[in-house]
Amino acid sequence: MVYSKRSDGRKFDELREMEAKVGVIKSADGSAMFRMGKTIAIAAVRGPRNLHPRFMQNPEKGILRCNYDLMSFSVTERKRPGPSRRSQEVSLVTEKALLPALNLDEFPNAVVDVFIQITQADAGTRCAGINAASLALADAGIIMSDLVCAVALGILHGDKVIVDINKEEEDYKDGIADTPIAIMPHSGKITLLQMDGEASKEEIKQALEKAKETCKKIRDVQVKALKEKYGGMKNEV
């Protein structure tokens, strides 16, 4: 079967409808919501704050701790609450995707905690999580050299790359390589690159090019959300 049309009628390089909102959690130091189609991620940042346990403290610079989880109602089959093998892995790769953008030299012995909750999952949750977390970190006033943008690509055999796959496409029966990529758009540095599936070298190269273009579109959405919050202050009387 030839994959010539996407199930939801999108073009191959078309993202799902995106929405971003900054400052959704009042009690956090920074927070944001990021929606990609039906996938919704909420991120809260607390800190920089005092770090316990103390053996984790680094007197040279602050550390980043990420905590990613799916809410139990976010998936079709109820997810048992609490950390799992999968959520620990995603927390770790999220942390490593965000850290290159941050500068925590000013906060020795302290920690910046990032909590990411997925309230609705339709593939690409770690990418939505990274997008939301990067907004939340900016909202918390953490020094960062760039926002981090992430997108999940699908690599089909026969030189086809589709952007921002949804659950239906992820489960495509003839096989699709699910490739989440996070990029710092200004420098073009890749901070996250995973792949679940099979793809040739050329296909991956093509995917990386596509990801760079796509992340610029995601960044526009993020920038708009941040400016809406901080620029909006001026108009509120």
Binding site: D29, G30, G47, P48, R49, N50, P59, A101, N103, E106, F107, P108, N109, A110, A138, D139, A140, G141, I142, I143, M144, S145, D146, L147, M184, P185, H186, S187, Q222, V223, L226, K227, Y230, G231, M233, K234, E236, V237
Partner: protein, 227 residues
């Protein structure tokens, strides 16, 4: 030839391009990446000649030497007090700097400052690992009794104080309150009655919510007069 990409007082986000070329100089809140200057934080652009600066709009207090701050005593140790000054680090007030009078060895330290006491204090030293020393020696540095504390973003404190204290003097006079603004974004307000305190608090929150507004002083003035 260098080219400026943003206007003065514009809001920028991390990674946003501020200027191209070597003609401009990056100051706080910005960094240089090869030929361009980019922003480090969410903030307001401030262009002073060739120097580009980003004034942050959010973020925790970063302690600096000689800042007057308002803190809460959270612990008493053998040789001083531990003070919460907001932000990730607590500060130390030692016996030596705690009072202009002599404190005898073995004295009951809670007689001077007890748990939960609010003090106006000055930072005398900050080390690289963020150990902070406070001092109570100096004019206006003492325990604050009564009143209330409101929290603002520490980077907006200069706006609350205004040029040569113009803004804060106006609020004090108009609301008939005593107001002390700590550099750490804690503002202490004490008045004869609740209405006065509310008035001062609302005026300060107005500055907190729209620090970049044009003619802010006028706005606050109109607000204070209308109450």
């Amino acid at each position: 030839m260098g080219e400026l990409k943003v206007k003065d007082k514009e809001i920028v986000v991390p990674g946003e391009l501020l200027a191209d070329g070597m003609d401009y100089l990056p100051s706080t809140g910005t960094y240089r990446d090869e030929n361009s200057i980019l922003s480090f934080q969410v903030g307001l652009i401030n262009i002073d000649g060739r120097v580009i600066k980003v004034i942050p709009l959010t973020g925790k207090y970063n302690p600096k030497r000689n800042d007057t701050i308002i803190g809460e005593v959270v612990n008493i140790t053998m040789n001083g007090w531990i003070v919460d000054i907001g932000g990730p680090y607590s500060a130390m007030l030692t016996l030596k700097d705690a009072s202009s009078s002599f404190i005898e060895r073995g004295a009951d330290l809670s007689q001077f400052y007890d748990y939960g006491d609010i003090i106006a204090s000055q930072i005398v030293n900050v080390t690289k690992t963020k150990l902070i020393d406070l001092s109570m020696r100096g004019p206006g540095l003492n325990k604050l009794k009564g009143g209330r504390i409101i929290d603002v973003t520490s980077s907006k404190v200069p706006r609350i104080i205004g040029r040569q204290g113009s803004m804060i003097h106006m609020i004090k006079d108009s609301a008939k309150c005593r107001v002390i603004v700590g550099q750490n974004g804690k503002v202490w307000i004490s008045g004869d009655n609740m209405q006065d305190e509310n008035k001062a608090a609302e005026a300060i929150m107005m500055i907190e919510n729209e620090p970049q507004a044009e003619g802010l002083t006028e706005k606050v003035k109109n607000f204070l007069e209308s109450k």
